[in-house]
């Protein structure tokens, strides 16, 4: 039976990629795309429904659409790719918006909810094991509102699972996703010639290629996997090697200077890295892909190193202006 799929955030990377591959997929009957702007790549199957998740009545609007369209699978991708400078708006959109999404899913009785989460929700701590498993508590980093909002999203999903056990809830925790076309916080960090680093710390980093992320997301949409899954590329690299691989120059800052300096620059809107995120350059937060491999039967095509090389090569190729940026 062909699936009827709804997704939130059709202008995010994952939303857009999902629409593009589902348009050509015979297993998909139609797609409902929720966002404040219409999708870029929808064709015949895609229907756009305007929805602002910061609107307190959005759960009702969304539930009505979900019920009218008889949606089977809801994919929640309306999450920010960057730490926002207006953190209260970001909190409304991510944490509270997810509450509305889960409420709508519960009242419209969708069969499955898939969330594109991040392994950053485990938090970067000195006490982390070398490979974090899905059972590890979602500590986040208390000072980072971006990460804590993501943790709140995960908690909303867990609450939905508790309240409506008949709904299959899947949380795909992607590690740092890079690639030729995705542009997010992690790619922005590695784009300039000078890359921030913390003096005396060299954590092991883990990357995932965007194609693998999309493949995993499609697999989770078409097949049922309940629970959380780390989606990670094979192998880890020292952060200094990541910098070297891209031909970048690391700027090591002592950690006691780094936090206030990064916060100051972030608050002046001169950088994308809030000071609280510096923990992620100090301690390893690599996740274990065993469950992904064993239970989900998914194996990424790119290793961490391969994903990074693909991204760095795309930086070399990148023209002065992209056609999509020039087009009105």
């Amino acid at each position: 039976m062909p699936l009827r799929i709804a997704l939130t955030g059709c202008r995010t990377f994952f939303g857009d990629a999902l629409i593009r591959s589902l348009e050509d997929d015979p297993r998909c009957e139609h797609i409902v795309a929720f966002d404040i702007r219409p999708p870029l790549s929808g064709r015949t199957k895609t229907r756009f429904s305007r929805l602002d998740l910061t609107d307190p009545s959005s759960d009702e609007q969304m539930a009505a659409v979900l019920e009218a369209e008889q949606i089977d699978v809801l994919v929640h991708t309306a999450l920010l790719a960057y730490p926002s400078h207006s953190s209260s708006w970001a909190h409304e959109l991510e944490a509270i918006g997810s509450l509305y999404v889960m409420n709508a899913a519960a009242s419209a009785k969708v069969r499955k909810v898939v969330l594109t989460s991040s392994t950053a929700v485990y938090g970067a701590h000195a006490s982390n094991p070398a490979f974090l498993s899905e059972d590890h508590p979602l500590q986040g980093v208390k000072a980072s509102r971006w990460v804590m909002d993501r943790v709140a999203v995960e908690k909303e999903l867990a609450r939905l699972k508790r309240d409506c056990p008949q709904i299959v809830t899947t949380s795909l925790r992607f590690c740092m996703t890079v690639g030729p076309t995705i542009r997010n916080f992690y790619t922005k960090l590695l784009t300039p010639q000078f890359v921030p680093a913390v003096l005396g710390y060299d954590p092991l980093m883990q990357y995932l290629h965007e194609d693998d992320a999309i493949a995993a997301l499609l697999k989770a949409v078409h097949e049922d996997f309940s629970g959380a899954y780390n989606i990670v590329g094979a192998g880890t690299l020292y952060y200094s090697d990541v910098i070297r691989l891209g031909g970048k120059i690391g700027l090591p800052v002592p950690h006691f200077l780094g936090y206030p300096a990064a916060d100051a620059l972030f608050n002046l809107q001169l950088s994308v890295v809030p000071g609280s995120f510096l923990n992620y350059f100090r301690y390893s937060w690599a996740a274990d892909g065993k469950k992904m491999h064993d239970k989900m039967g998914f194996l990424p095509q790119f290793t961490s190193r391969g994903a990074l090389l693909s991204f760095f090569d795309s930086l070399q190729r990148r023209p002065v202006s992209l056609s999509s940026e020039v087009a009105p």
């Binding site: 020292y238 070297r244 390893s284």
Partner: protein
């Protein structure tokens, strides 16, 4: 020699490899190719900034000159193009360390091994017995007593198995968390192959069939005062036994004697240690007073005894993981085994410095 001459003569092999397409007759292109080959050669051959001979030669030339004049002459002779080439190569090099999943970098460890060997052979004159209790391959959990203020004992067990064991086994050491809070320390430890002590990591190491060294006493053991030397502290919460039961690895008790006297801990400063994230700040006869020199241990004579593996065959598989009382009993047995090895060695020891 013109381009025509080279084309008419059969080129030697070396040249053939440099310009594979010598078939064309375009003189300009030929010149470009040869020029490129030369610059490539130069780049390969002269990437050292300065060879020692060149430095000595330059120093000889400026030997008689007044100092300022000598300095300016030397500065003017700096090979900027070569320095630029070197920097360029460093920046464009995409070489990445070869590491295992815990970040162990063999190339980083290899130059350090002779230092450990010197300390093992000549400084502490480590005498190891019972090495046959550690199999040539396969998983094994080494359980040792921890002592000596600074963790030189871990390094010496690693060195003993690396240089004395017939299979030259590499040992992975489990280390305390606080190491990773401090800059450079955590970086160094993970490059030499140490792993943060927790059940998940240790289980993963044992499942990879590594020889894994644990100090179940932890900070309590290494930070015990000199007056309590060779009296084992509590063995954690039985984590070592749980590991052995979960991974089915043999548990080998290891007794290190001599480390206690190499750095006798007289007192601990804890009020200053807490804000710095350290478990304690040690006070030894020399430590705060001589500055960094205080980190040098006394050259006591060390012995390392590897006992026979603890027999867990009377417990059904998985039983120890469920039965906490039995687990604690085995933990106490393990502690008694290490303590017995220490006591035997202490009784036969005549001198701290000469064994």
């Amino acid at each position: 020699m013109t381009a025509k001459d080279t084309a008419s003569q059969p080129p030697p092999d070396a040249e053939k490899s440099l310009s594979p397409d010598t078939g064309h007759r375009d003189a300009q292109l030929e010149r470009l190719i040869s020029k490129r080959a030369v610059s490539h050669n130069e780049f390969e051959a002269k990437t050292d900034i300065l060879s020692l001979d060149e430095v000595l030669q330059a120093l000889n030339e400026v030997a008689g000159l007044p100092p300022i004049k000598a300095l300016t002459t030397l500065l003017s002779r700096l090979p900027f193009s070569r320095i630029q080439a070197l920097v360029q190569r460093a920046l464009t090099s995409r070489k990445v360390r070869v590491i295992d999943e815990f970040g162990f970098d063999q190339k980083f460890l290899e130059p350090l091994e002779p230092i450990a060997k010197w300390f093992h052979d000549n400084y502490f004159r480590v005498e190891s017995r019972g090495l046959e209790n550690v199999a040539d391959s396969g998983r094994v959990l080494l359980v040792a007593n921890h002592s000596g203020t600074l963790p030189y004992d871990g390094a010496m067990v690693v060195a003993a198995l690396r240089f004395q064991h017939p299979a030259q086994r590499r040992v992975r050491v489990l280390v305390e968390d606080f190491i990773y809070h401090w800059p450079f320390m955590g970086m160094f430890m993970s490059r030499v192959g140490a792993v943060r002590a927790c059940q998940e990591n240790a289980l993963r190491l044992l499942e990879n069939d590594e020889a894994t060294l644990v100090f179940p006493e932890g900070v309590k053991g290494i930070g015990k005062l000199f007056s309590k030397r060779y009296r084992l502290q509590r063995f954690g919460r039985g984590g070592a036994v749980r590991l052995a039961a979960a991974s089915n690895a043999p548990m080998v008790p290891v007794a290190i004697v001599g480390a206690e006297e190499s750095m006798p801990l007289l007192s601990k400063v804890s009020w200053l240690a807490r804000p710095l994230g350290l478990p304690y700040i040690p006070v030894t006869p020399i430590l705060p007073w001589l500055g960094p020199l205080g980190l040098i241990p006394f050259p006591t004579k060390w012995t390392i005894d590897f006992g026979p593996p603890i027999d867990l065959s009377m417990y059904a598989p998985g039983e120890l993981l469920k039965d906490r009382v039995a687990l604690n009993r085995v933990n106490e047995e393990l502690r008694a085994a290490v303590q017995a090895l220490i006591d035997v060695r202490l009784a036969s020891r005549k001198s701290v410095l000469f064994g």
